[in-house]
């Protein structure tokens, strides 16, 4: 089982600003309700760079190392997160929206190995609520960028 979710929303921020903000994964501290800290530990943000993300997920704190897999300005961002029992993909698609704004598609996908496999159905059940919360926060952060243009 590989729980995943895809959501699309619009923001007033321009595509390049959206891209630059989300491509710097340290900003997950702002836009991701689950992230407590996120630091760049290897590289300068380009493909292959590594972030150390500490998040709390369903009451448990965990550390996940995220590697930048794809980066195409301004349309595409893809990070792969891994630890011993988890692999997750965060993929963001950015397209030109109306009046200089953007349409953003957020795709999150999770897979688990070992004992964590039993968590997959629970995660799948929890995912829509989590995505709703994440999207709301991400959209607010991006709109704030848009207001400042």
């Amino acid at each position: 089982m590989r729980p995943s979710i895809t959501r699309t929303f619009t923001t007033t921020a321009a595509p390049e600003r959206v891209h630059d903000y989300l491509a710097d994964f340290r900003n997950a501290e702002e836009w991701d309700p689950g992230t407590k800290t996120c630091e760049l530990v290897q590289g300068g943000g380009e493909v292959g760079s590594v972030y150390r993300n500490v998040s709390s997920f369903m009451g448990r704190e965990s550390e996940i190392r995220y590697t930048v897999a794809e980066l195409e300005r301004p349309t595409r961002i893809h990070l792969v997160g891994r630890n011993e029992q988890f692999e997750g993909h965060d993929v963001l698609g950015v397209r030109a929206g109306v009046d200089g704004g953007s349409e953003v598609t957020y795709h999150a996908e999770f897979s688990f190995t070992g004992a964590a496999k039993y968590a997959a159905p629970l995660v799948a059940a929890y995912l829509p609520a989590l995505a709703r919360k994440t999207i709301r926060q991400m959209q607010a952060c991006l709109d704030a960028l848009g207001d400042g243009r």
Partner: protein, 322 residues
């Protein structure tokens, strides 16, 4: 939910039920039922495409003919992009005999050959293209390679169309591009690890459906890319139509389903509608019978994020997208 919305529920439910059960929806029955249901998206206005240039690939057979004819009836100057100009001229004459004032021009390009696509884009003497309909299709009986060494169905259905659109993107500004896909893609996963069909035993219908799945999975990424040109990119599937491809490659299917297969006009209806309807439809969607449809009917065909990334990298590399 408003009362008006509630009133349309049974209609939407019928439409959706036909879509998910395939045979009723994809056949001519589906088309004929849907276009009589309330809520059927309105036909484009007469003359909606007057003064506009539209390119149709694979224009001299099957759905291509239905598409050219439908666009011509709306007043478009239609450029029939064909491999065989003699056949193209013959079909042009036949269409003009039915649509007297049709403005049709025959032009040659082999979508399988990326060099010929580049030549075509260089030589195309138009400053503005309103719509580009990627209708050309093949179903090679044996595994065949294009001049650049790509598996032929992937070359004709994916690489050629993507390169042509990319090269014309300035001229397609605020225009529309339609990828004619196939309902057959619903049965296939994205062949991310083997897009060129080098592994396993080649099957014409599987190769065909995989290339159509590739179109559909790349659709949102390409729509993002070309959104910066104000371009609407749409995928669509025509349903089950009585095309030369079906006649040659799927004779048994055709024998069994012949009475309910769609004709060229019915199969091309959504392509013509996408090119002409106003306001412009949203980009990046997959359509059938004028309505956006899901791209998966079962979870098993959903690609993983790493597979999408791999296929995208292959597509970019094969077409030279920067």
């Amino acid at each position: 939910m408003s009362a008006a919305e509630a009133a349309t529920l049974p209609v939407r439910a019928l439409d959706t039920l036909m879509d998910r059960t395939l045979a009723p929806g994809y056949s001519r029955i589906g088309f004929e039922v849907r276009r009589r249901l309330p809520g059927w998206p309105a036909d484009p206005q007469p003359g909606a495409l007057a003064g506009r240039h539209v390119l149709v690939t694979g224009a001299s057979s099957g759905l291509g003919i239905g598409c050219v004819e439908g666009l011509a009836r709306l007043g478009a100057a239609v450029h029939m992009v064909v491999r065989d100009e003699v056949k193209g001229e013959r079909v042009r004459g036949q269409i003009i005999s039915r649509v007297g004032d049709a403005d049709l021009r025959v032009t040659r390009c082999d979508l399988a050959d990326l060099d010929d696509v580049r030549r075509f884009a260089d030589e195309l003497d138009l400053t503005s293209v309103h719509a580009l309909i990627h209708n050309a299709g093949v179903m090679p009986p044996e595994r065949t390679e294009s001049p650049q060494g790509h598996e032929l169905s992937m070359a004709v259905h994916v690489l050629g169309p993507v390169l042509m659109t990319e090269l014309l993107r300035d001229r397609l500004h605020s225009g529309r591009t339609v990828l004619v896909s196939s309902g057959g893609m619903y049965a296939q996963r994205l062949p991310a690890g083997d897009p060129e069909f080098r592994l396993g035993e080649y099957s014409p219908s599987v190769a065909y459906a995989r290339s159509k799945r590739m179109q559909v999975e790349m659709l949102p990424l390409l729509a993002d890319r070309w959104s910066f040109d104000g371009m609407v990119l749409a995928g669509m599937h025509p349903g089950w139509a009585d095309t030369p491809g079906v006649r040659e490659s799927l004779p048994t299917f055709r024998r069994l389903t012949r009475p309910i297969l769609r004709d060229d006009r019915q199969g091309a209806d959504t392509s013509v509608w996408l090119a002409a309807t106003r306001p412009a439809p949203p980009t990046g969607r997959f359509w059938h019978d004028r309505v956006p449809r899901p791209t998966h009917l079962v979870p098993a065909t959903r690609p993983r994020a790493d597979e999408v990334a791999r296929a995208w990298a292959w597509l970019r590399s094969a077409t030279g997208l920067d």
